[in-house]
Symmetry: C2
Subunit: 205 residues, 2 copies
């Protein structure tokens, strides 16, 4: 298919597709002549993935490119993909200096018995949040965090369950990505509804 069909089938305008090509989010089509290229279903699929990450989840184009690059690179070892790349998603800028709560996060991970890569960006995200909450007067220590972490184990187990019946490693990697990133707003939505319910249960007459 050529670009106009790709545009029609994906709902993304031709100029935007060109923009994604320029930004390296989408691989160029197969050249059939000097000024003509042919696209296939993988491009269509990729394009829908891009729109899901940027539109639904609100990732920046730059972050989306990093995530997609990591998807290409780590198709074999799925869990590395998740740990290494997606931690940087919610951070706006790179934090050059080390957060004061870093050591505390380390001891929490140890207490949990988790095997987590030393340089996983999720560690820094966690440390930053702790520091930020404390500076605003919200007490947040190991005792509070530990039960949250146990529940996170449960969530992770559910996540992994959904990758079991996928023989194709490429498809597994893509689904892992989708589940990790796109499910985030849904999980937070469930949390908010559960909060409302629990609040009503506790305080209602």
């Amino acid at each position: 298919m050529r670009v106009s069909e790709l545009s029609r089938r994906s709902g993304v305008s031709v100029t935007t597709i060109k923009y994604y090509l320029r930004e390296g989010l989408l691989a160029p089509g197969r050249q059939t002549s000097a000024t003509q290229a042919e696209y296939d279903d993988r491009h269509l699929r990729r394009l829908r993935l891009i729109r899901a990450l940027t539109g639904v989840r609100g990732l920046s184009v730059a972050t989306t490119r990093e995530v997609l690059d990591a998807l290409e690179a780590h198709t074999g070892d799925t869990h590395l993909l998740l740990g290494l790349t997606l931690g940087s998603v919610s951070l706006s800028g790179e934090s050059a200096e080390q957060d004061p709560a870093t050591g505390e996060v380390e001891s929490l991970v140890e207490e949990l018995g988790w095997h987590v890569h030393e340089s996983a960006p999720a560690r820094a995200t966690l440390a930053e949040t702790l520091t930020s909450l404390r500076s605003l007067g919200v007490p947040m220590d190991r005792h509070v965090l530990l039960p949250y972490a146990r529940l996170a184990e449960g969530i992770a187990a559910l996540d992994l369950d959904q990758l079991d019946d996928l023989p194709d490693p490429l498809e597994a990697a893509e689904r892992a990505l989708l589940l990790t990133v796109l499910l985030e707003p849904a999980l937070m939505a469930l949390r908010r509804m559960a909060q409302e319910n629990e609040s009503a249960r506790r305080h209602a007459p």
Copy 2:
């Protein structure tokens, strides 16, 4: 205190403080004369809250204003605050038309036995995510979602536990806001680390 002291103590530049005043994020100080105003600790506290929401969590200025307005309005009935306002946080634009998965979300909420306001934006967020994931070929139905929802109940219970020992309703409302919004990246970070750990546990030799 006057604006320069507010600036020094908060680490926010005077021009930015003026910008927040203009945008209605920060209440004007008490006028002491025609061209002079006095600020107090509530302004400082509010300013730190604004920086936490916009900087740490990445909320837009417009969303932050909505959230803060809701904080003012619903200081008494804390749980309403959470349900009604924060659902719109992760959405970029207003979705005018109803999502096809709306009915499904409704039956899920019913099956869970949750009391959730009919117009809670979290419902729409959940429905959108379902639709989006499905269009990308990821199966996502009631059976998959239900265990996630049960874990969300656990998270909500932990959240509410942390509001118990706060007699001042204003402080309780503010902490509810901070916990709901600022803890989100931390929870997602825990999830990613737990995924990495669980993946290693299942697939490692």
